[in-house]
């Protein structure tokens, strides 16, 4: 296996990029995850990628690591066009990715995981000499306690991340992609990981580094590229721009006509939903908030900071959740979705994944519409009037309600989910990122629908990964970080800068700390 040596053509020109992406586009249906992006990574550099959720960072990484194939454009490695048809091809070319979703097989041991797909394995004997490098990496990043024979499912999350790092580095990458690679590690381990990454760079490897922690990027990156809405905004050397300038680049400017105007706050608005000291399993801690009649209250933060679990808990999906929930002045105990939808509580929940959680793809549009209403007293699920109003307002495009719901586009599917729940006339609507991956027109329709419902007295709790939604649509926004509510803002305080800073848990005072 002399791959590594054949690659090592002497680098005559250090400015000649190792990897270039030219005019790269990645479209998922109508969604443009990346649009005509040019991007280059030089040899021996640590290149940080910054951007909001959905800016296209992860898509870019997936293209480089061969998980996805671009819908347009060229990928050029060492001046030659390459086609990265599978992750295996990319790895053989020295492009190794460590994903933020951990890629270890829980039921295998550390050794087995490290050898999965390792260079030289495949058919034939496993080569355990590759493990020497992995062991060395683990020892250098405080992973000395991790035994090769330990089952991955028995390891803690930080240990698993250390194994991931070892797994990536033992493949001797030319270009190493670290996608939120250190999110679970504590500060002292992170420092050691960084030393290791710098050592890799000094030996000639390049590193693409994605992180939401500014101080990490400040400490590590040579150059920084900022992405926004599937486009690369700018690339510059670390230190050329201040923290505020970088955040402004990430935010950009957009037209606000997408959103309906906000009515002035009503002083006499009644409390519809009141949550006090809500906690669950160490992942959601001590959340208290109130939603008044006519209000849209936003929940923001980076992915997986507990805001999703909080919504699920309110809907009775988390068995061990604690806390006091009051709906319309009455304390309630919501133990299941069935209890939640009864008229005396009347909560509705629009789950995050409409394809598998919100709808039954094999059933017809009509059957999906009826599923929540059916079996409820005082409600005739077979009465089409229950759904007609919502469907007309949202302009559902369909070729007949008896067709399977899978025949609809994503945006139209979400309209069905909404209509199904609005048929129950919920007192409080819980939405988990309802506009993710949906076209702009449908978004606008959903926004004005939500505002209209709020005006009619429905309390709305909206989880969003899009801060524009939080700013433009919501009357109040709460930001989650590590399971806690770290910041609540109203009115003019809701700015992109404030939301991003709160999401990263950096305020001007304490910009670093969290690790």
């Amino acid at each position: 296996m002399c791959r590594r040596t054949t690659w090592k053509n002497p680098m005559t020109d250090p400015d000649k990029p190792l990897l270039r992406m030219q005019d790269i586009s990645m479209h998922f249906g109508a969604t443009k995850a990346l649009n005509n992006v040019d991007f280059a990574c030089k040899p021996s550099e640590i290149h940080a990628i910054l951007g909001e959720n959905g800016a296209g960072k992860s898509t870019l990484m997936k293209l480089i690591s061969g998980v996805l194939q671009p819908t347009g454009g060229r990928i050029i490695l060492d001046g030659q066009d390459v086609r990265l048809a599978t992750p295996r091809v990319a790895q053989n070319l020295g492009l190794v990715c460590m994903f933020q979703e951990l890629s270890l097989v829980p039921d295998l041991t550390v050794r087995e995981n490290l050898l999965l797909g390792a260079p030289g394995s495949g058919l034939g004997w496993l080569r355990s000499d590759a493990l020497v490098k992995a062991r060395d990496v683990l020892d250098r990043i405080d992973g000395g306690h991790i035994k090769m024979s330990a089952r991955v499912s028995d390891l803690t999350l930080p240990s698993r991340q250390q194994v991931e790092i070892a797994k990536a580095l033992m493949r001797k990458p030319r270009l190493l992609i670290l996608d939120e690679a250190t999110s679970a590690l504590n500060a002292s381990v992170v420092t050691k990981v960084f030393d290791l990454i710098r050592a890799e760079r000094d030996q000639g490897s390049s590193v693409l580094f994605i992180s939401h922690r500014f101080h990490e990027i400040e400490a590590l990156a040579d150059r920084i590229s900022v992405f926004r809405n599937g486009e690369r905004v700018e690339t510059f050397d670390n230190g050329d721009h201040s923290y505020n300038e970088i955040i402004n680049m990430m935010v950009g400017q957009r037209i606000d006509e997408l959103f309906p105007p906000k009515p002035p706050a009503r002083a006499d608005a009644k409390e519809v939903l009141k949550v006090e000291n809500f906690s669950w399993d160490g992942r959601v801690t001590d959340i208290s908030l109130t939603v008044h009649e006519g209000e849209i209250v936003g929940l923001g933060g980076l992915d997986g900071q507990g805001q999703g679990a909080f919504l699920m808990g309110l809907f009775g999906l988390l068995r061990t959740a604690e806390g006091k929930v009051t709906v319309a002045g009455k304390p309630v105990s919501v133990t299941s979705p069935k209890a939640a939808k009864q008229p005396d509580i009347a909560l509705a929940f629009i789950p995050e994944d409409r394809k598998t959680e919100g709808l039954i793809q094999d059933q017809s549009i009509l059957e999906n519409l009826q599923l929540a209403a059916i079996g409820l007293k005082d409600l005739d699920a077979s009465n089409p009037d229950l759904y007609q109003d919502t469907l007309e307002r949202l302009e559902l495009k369909h070729g007949g309600l008896e067709l399977p719901v899978s025949s609809l586009s994503g945006g139209n599917q979400q309209k069905v989910v909404l209509a199904k729940w609005l048929a129950l006339k919920p007192r409080c609507l819980l939405l988990a990122d309802p506009t993710r991956g949906i076209d702009v027109k449908t978004k606008t329709q959903i926004y004005s629908m939500l505002r209209r419902l709020a005006d009619q007295g429905t309390a709305i709790l909206l989880l969003s990964t899009d801060y524009e939604e939080l700013i433009q649509l919501c009357d109040e926004t709460h930001i989650f970080y590590a399971g806690r509510l770290v910041s609540s803002m109203r009115g003019d305080d809701m700015t992109a800068q404030n939301i991003i800073a709160a999401s990263l848990n950096v305020t001007e005072k304490r910009k670093v700390v969290h690790a």
């Binding site: 979705p337 789950p351 039954i360 059933q363 599923l371 929540a372």
Partner: protein, 314 residues
Amino acid sequence: MSRTITPDSMMPYFGTVVLILAGSLYFPQILTFDYLSQQLQIAAFLGLLATGATIVILLGHIDLSVPWVLTGAAILSTALVGSGNPVLSALAVPAALAFGALIGVVNGIGVAILRIPSMVWTLAVNSILLGLAVLNTGGFNPKGEASQLMVSMASGNVFGLPVSFLTWMAVSLAIVAFLTRTPFGRYLRSIGYNEKATFLSGVSTPSVVFAAFALAGMCSALGGVLLAGYANQAYQSMGDPFLLPTIAAVVIGGTSILGGRGGLFGTIGGALFITLLTSILSVMQIGDAWRSIVFGVIILAMLLFQAMRKGARS
């Protein structure tokens, strides 16, 4: 909601007609009323079991405890009758049905609460029931006899039609109504397609699972009662030959083994087809080994045909 009759569910009926016509070329007596009526009588036993299996399979699960629920119900009912006490004797059929429902609830606990895959859980329950039956009888054939009611349910005739067939049809009609006109039926299919989305729509999915397994257990028990009436006794392992044909009847009837899609109309055809196939194969002068092989091949061919039709459509 008249989707109960689909091309898939018509398949076994065509197959049955083909079997009758082709069979009558060699054995003209197949076309007699007596023969066909006897087939309806026998098909009812399989049909009742398959009715229960359809419910569970629509739910996306499977019930492998059919053989020993059947046997247990047969042993229980004949033993009650055999006690000679008129009260116990009258309770024989209801007790057997209650037994079936009880085992169904046990199955429901495993599947809905403990979240053990139904294939494993119901197989274990089947094995436990076997053990209990052997403990109870000491390994000998159980004592007892069938009551007059059981005998006439299994072998009687009304208006020239076998009572067992009429019973089967009555049960089927009742369950079809239950599946198409109540929320339960909608929940059942929805869970079969996507349990998570159904639960998130505010459906108490565990209660649906319980009810489905309990109904299936009662169907198996009723099958056992009829078989005991037919043989005028219960015997060990009387249910064992029924497991594969039961599932085959459901699947041939166009019900997806993955849950959600299908219905009882097809299952009725499936039970008729398999009963007739078994009967014709047994009147043909071929050895047991070949009979089993031909039986298996024909069932595979039916399923293959369905799969190809589906593949051509999409």
